[in-house]
Symmetry: D2
């Protein structure tokens, strides 16, 4: 997964699995938000950031991460049925909102058909005090480069 | 679970479990939307509707339900940390939008503190053709009685 | 949730929800293990143990729990279809295996019909070093009282 | 995803995501069984079987699949911590048990370290009557070719 294509970390794929589908035969709705978060993690990974530097995860008392990025808002819209084995394309549009928060919009397509979209908004806080703080430098860079590339790709 | 209290199907409880919490120590966000849907199912059950009359579920080729209520939009906001073993109160506010759609707003409180809210919007469709149709009678009644009771409880 | 009945923390209930069911119309298998873990947490709660004293959960750098109880083995057997809205009874049989490990067997019944069973085995470790250690005192007591009560209830 | 390598559908990869990890900092146990099922689906897909021919999924009243493959037993063992962002290798060992049932063993490795294993056993039934029946032809072929290839690869 090299990063030669400027936006390869903003265009991902996902195949819908049996456990994602409910007994009405379409995606059980909240899994779309799970997929969105996993697509964000994959995007950071392809771009070159390490998950263990971004996400708090109790390993031992020394590995404490001092800034967390909790989700303050999420939403999803469903336009067409998402079914078992559908091969979806996911396009990410990250946007820095201010010094301490950002959002990512996710668009899910089945071929040319827009099937769903979602939005997740994060705010940086100090893990200990939970007071607002600035975004970590890695996330800031990912946001900036992603915007630049989007600008170029829109020409 | 009797229905003597007029709004007993609109005020529910939930205890946060270990698997709901991520390694940042708070609810992993999309579980709140799972809880919301489960609260809706519990509400219908307490009110007196049978799940097998409402939700499509492949049992055999004779048990086909002709109207489905897919989710067209959902959202959630997070105001304060939801942590392991928190005992949450969930208040539901159902609202009929038009002949074929409705939404439910869910407010999550820890004691007097508002910790999160969510909104899920459903639209009725024929299961076979997926064309829009009117809400099933049971859902319509649940929406109407829920609004009446809310009116009374607000006096 | 009083503890006057000697085994009230070993006999629980669960209603099957829409999101638990897959598109074959029965429980999506691994949810049964999720339910089992949640039943264990509910059992400890009814017995009188606090989740925040048992389960590691990153809150701040001071709230570190020194013993964890990771799962080393789990299994489940499915005997009859578990369907939407089924009201299941869950019977727990905890068993201390040695000074540092225990298991809980879970039996799921729909009325008189045995529909599924599961088993989860835990081992105590120091959170920091991950070396084996003795079970926490609270868990030890819950195991002992649960065995006593089972003995009595079997008379 | 071509099938030129004889066992390319029996050796898969998975990266551990934030939502898979619980607040003890390791995989929340039942997700390993979700991953196992998803690895099985991916294996069938790479081998060349279509999910919509294998898995019942309510689409319309005409798309009824007549044989289902419910899980009758599953188990998992955990040998070493599975942590955020771990890149795991999953090796599948399918085995036909009799005319109507089979199992798949899944071994999870992090580099050379065995971190976990799982086993899922399926039995073929008629969807309508739920009586036992023979395995679908596609699954039978996938089992046979997988055994042959394993034999060859073991030389």
């Amino acid at each position: 997964m090299s990063s030669t294509n400027p936006i390869d970390w903003l265009l991902l794929q996902r195949i819908v699995r049996f456990g994602d589908i409910d007994s009405a035969g379409v995606i059980h709705f909240h899994h779309l938000l799970r997929w969105s978060h996993e697509a964000w993690e994959e995007s950071l990974h392809i771009y070159g950031l390490k998950a263990i530097d971004i996400f708090p995860s109790l390993i031992d008392s020394n590995s404490f991460i001092h800034v967390a990025l909790p989700i303050v808002h999420c939403e999803a819209d469903f336009f067409a049925p998402v079914r078992l084995a559908n091969e979806l394309e996911i396009e990410l549009s990250p946007l820095r909102l201010d010094a301490g928060s950002f959002q990512v919009k996710y668009v899910f397509k089945k071929g040319d058909i827009l099937v769903a979209s979602s939005l997740i908004r994060h705010r940086a806080i100090y893990t200990d005090s939970r007071h607002p703080c600035d975004l970590p430098e890695g996330i800031d860079r990912w946001l900036e480069v992603s915007s630049l590339n989007r600008g170029i790709s829109a020409l």
